[in-house]
């Protein structure tokens, strides 16, 4: 009897699982998902988003059709507002963004949505590499020279972007003498400015670094790479990137030049931004209120994508580094962390931005 019961229970369980699967399959069968990207077509966010778009459908039960739409503007804020205010929570609008989490930390008045209210599915991380022209100031041949030259120009995109804030804090911590020039629209334009010697220093995430900086600046011998930013785990240990062997981390450089580890509010602020952008430069989410079955199917699809060899091969081919996917729980934790920044650090950021 016991055996009969357990068999029946097992059978019921299987049936339930099957039903749930069927429900998910039904949910997306014959539907069309719109993947939204908060930067314009052709940029790094767009390229990654479209790569994911190409591979995601096969992991979603029902194999929905996927189309991609760009909602660029205001450093990613336009698209974020769109996801919170316009996109319907019907499981058919999915964001693959470079989420401007820093705008939330800074309480940007333009940002009218709360990132922690979205339902997060996954994220993709990227280390970032900094570089400088060899003819900057009186000449740079190694990282030590960065502190010897005066008035080199560091190129950024927006005063409130994490890209700009991070390199300004990094240079300030080292005590470098530089002039901050911002406003370039995208990393490709930044690289063009450095090629023209309009500016001399900047940083780029690994895909952009491999594709634009290395062939045009490093390999021809116009510039050298200085350091890359690593994520720091909860124990304070650096997570080194095996694909950037030969380039020191920022902490390596700091210790070498200053003889000690950095500390203080400026470093805390630096580390906050750094961890957010290294571990989750891109984030994927759906609007608040999206049906559970859709969220479940999409989260499962991202999990499958993280293990998908075809995707990894395609991704590595295009991005020049393997995908570094974090799943829903970790992504949500990162977003929540961005919502709980101490007032001291927020004040520090605001002061830094105001001092442009």
């Amino acid at each position: 009897m016991k055996r009969v019961l357990s068999t029946a229970l097992a059978g019921a369980a299987i049936a339930l699982v099957g039903l749930a699967g069927a429900a998910e399959a039904q949910f997306y069968k014959g539907k069309r998902i719109t993947i939204l990207i908060n930067y314009s077509a052709g940029g790094p966010t767009d390229i990654e988003g479209r790569l994911v778009a190409k591979h995601l459908s096969k992991h979603i039960p029902g194999n929905p059709r996927i189309i991609v739409k760009n909602v660029p503007g205001a450093g990613g804020i336009t698209g974020s507002n769109y996801m919170g205010e316009v996109a319907k929570p019907d499981g058919l609008s999915l964001a693959i963004f470079t989420p401007p989490l820093i705008s939330q930390v800074l309480q940007d008045p333009g940002l009218r949505v709360d990132f922690s209210k979205f339902v997060w599915l996954a994220g993709i991380g990227h280390p970032q590499v900094c570089y400088i022209r060899k003819d900057a100031g009186s000449g740079v041949s190694s990282v030590e020279d960065v502190l010897k030259i005066k008035g080199f120009k560091a190129a950024g995109m927006r005063t409130t972007s994490s890209h700009d804030l991070r390199f300004r804090m990094a240079l300030d911590l080292l005590g470098a003498d530089y002039k901050y020039v911002t406003g370039y629209k995208g990393l490709a334009k930044v690289v063009a400015g450095v090629m023209q010697n309009e500016t001399q220093f900047s940083c780029g995430s690994v895909p952009g670094f491999r594709k634009n900086v290395e062939p045009n600046l490093i390999e021809p011998g116009h510039a050298i790479s200085l350091w890359y930013y690593s994520a720091v785990d909860p124990k304070g240990m650096e997570v080194r990137n095996p694909h950037l062997k030969g380039i020191p981390t920022y902490l390596d450089v700091y210790k070498k030049l200053k003889g000690k580890s950095p500390s203080g509010v400026r470093y805390d602020a630096f580390q906050l931004i750094n961890n957010l952008s290294v571990s989750m430069l891109r984030g994927s989410f759906v609007p608040e209120g999206t049906p559970d079955e859709a969220v479940k199917a999409l989260r499962a699809a991202w999990e499958a994508l993280a293990k998908d060899k075809d995707f990894a091969a395609d991704y590595t081919k295009v991005i020049k580094a393997p995908p570094n996917i974090i799943l829903a729980a970790a992504a949500q934790a990162h977003v929540d962390a961005a919502g709980k920044v101490s007032p001291e650090i927020v004040a520090f950021f605001k002061d830094l931005i105001g001092r442009k």
Partner: protein
Amino acid sequence: MFDAALSGLVSVIAWPAIGYLFLGVFIGLYFGAVPGLSGLVGMAILLPFTFAMEPVPALAFLLGMFAVTTTSDTIASVLLGIPGTAASQATILDGYPMAMKGEASRAFGAAFTVSAVGGLLGAVVLGLSIPIVKPLILSFTQAEFFMLGLLGLAMVGSLSGDSMLRGLTAALIGLGLSYVGYAENGAVPRYWLGTTYLLEGLPLIPVVLGLFALPEVIDLAVRNSSISRVPEDRVAGGMMTGIRDAWRNWWLVLRSTAIGAYVGMLPGLGGSIVDWVAYGHVVQSSKDKEGFGKGDVRGVIAPETANNAMKGGALIPTVAFGIPGSASMAILLGALMIQNMTPGPEMLTTKLDITFSLMWTLVIANVAGALLLMLLARQVARVTFVRGHFVVPAITLFVFMGAWLANSNLGDWITLLIFGLVGYVMKQGGVPRPPMVLGFVIGPIMENALFITTSAHDGLSWLGRPICLIIGALILLSILFAVRRQRKKKADDPRIVADLGRTDPTMSLVAVGLLLAVAVYGLAPTFAWPADVGRTPMITMIPAICLSAVALWQGAREVRRIRAEGGDIFPVRAEIAPVAHLYLWWIGVFALAVVAGQLVALPVFVALYLLVWGGYAWWIALIYAAAGWAFLYVMFDRIVAVLWYPSLLFH
């Protein structure tokens, strides 16, 4: 290099690359011909199809499509006076008057011939200039870009229409319109009137269609005239005349090719100003200038050559440095990367054959596209001789869908209708519209360039850079030329404004007054904004206020003079009621779309317009409306996968 050129050619003419190339050409002709669709939309739609393809076929497909959109966009520019793409605005100045004179076929013959020649030679220029490309591009920093933007505005302001004052004012207000929405350098929204819709800025295509297309539709509807004011049997020159025109002006074609290819190389700016630079060149270098703006074929030849030649040039910064010159080139860049090709020096060395295959694709696509269009053009040009009431429904359908395509937002229809009124007033009042659109397009580029330049250089030292000095001199020269030209003209003709001979003095006051009001409204909030956000609008609006105030004073003097002579100061009075009536119909289309969707609203408009305005038989209206519906369904729903408005009834 020769080997690479040859192997590039072989890879393009091999199967399946050549098949994809021709498929791309067919699609590109369609995307160029329909206002609102463009090479950019085509690129975005086709890109995902290329993921699984080999590099050469994939790029041949995309580039074949992209190459010919500036060939077929001539159709809308000439027939309807609508710029098919930003690069064919200058074509309107003489192309549309040619259609009004019944010479649409001739304009097509000339335009398609020079598009093919320009595209072909532009690609050759691309091939030949590979060695000198790098220093050339690297010498144009943000400072030079700002100056180039100014040059573009000065050229268009002083060339379009006969009143430089009004042209420059329109250009400045165009810049002002581009500031709507989030400021790039400070996340402060400007001029957004408290509506979310405007936070993202005004959309380009509805603005352009409103300014250019709706006023022409109003003309056709209110006067029921055909586009050609001359009956078909009295037209002399056909397509062959146009082709002969093109060959007779071979020297101009060569010069315009050079302008197109080299200006096209400048990322971001090239595509928007190249037609104006070429048009300015032909006007300034011609001895007999009187015919320009009234249907001189050379005014079609120069911009049409340049805008196809530009595509070769635009490829260079994209391929060689990974700096895309336009959104379309950004997508091509994405395609290159997805094909595992790294833009950069290696595209000019080890992967030179791929770069050459791009060049050959441009050559083949340009020639094939022009030949195909010539086969069709005779039939297409006939539209110009059809009664106005019969073409109004079709054009309305195209214009409304064009405005809808980019964002699928009903706000775009409101923008369209508002700018339609603005365009009508400007047209009747003799205020040139092209400068406004150019200002609108290059405004963000100029503001950004100025912002970077002022922080990367000390003070105004950047003005002393050699290329900045040269461009500065060109700006002064083009303004001086224009002033002198206008002085000369004034001596013959005491009237200040003469826009195709029909400017309404009262409407002129209304139009200039509107510009002045916008400028004052635009200046007011700038003082309260942070410096980085408010500075550019401020230095745009102050001269705009000055220029429009002077223009208003001139206009008032003109009205007084005409009244003193006993002339009519408000000849379009009779048109106002029918225009308002037509607008009510369009608002009806809007309302019906909200209730029942566009697939119902637009065909219903088609049928009712033909019955009520046109007085056609019910069966003609029914067939026309059904054809309109089928066209919407096949071309937009099936092919472009447009997102329709979720109406109340058929959500």
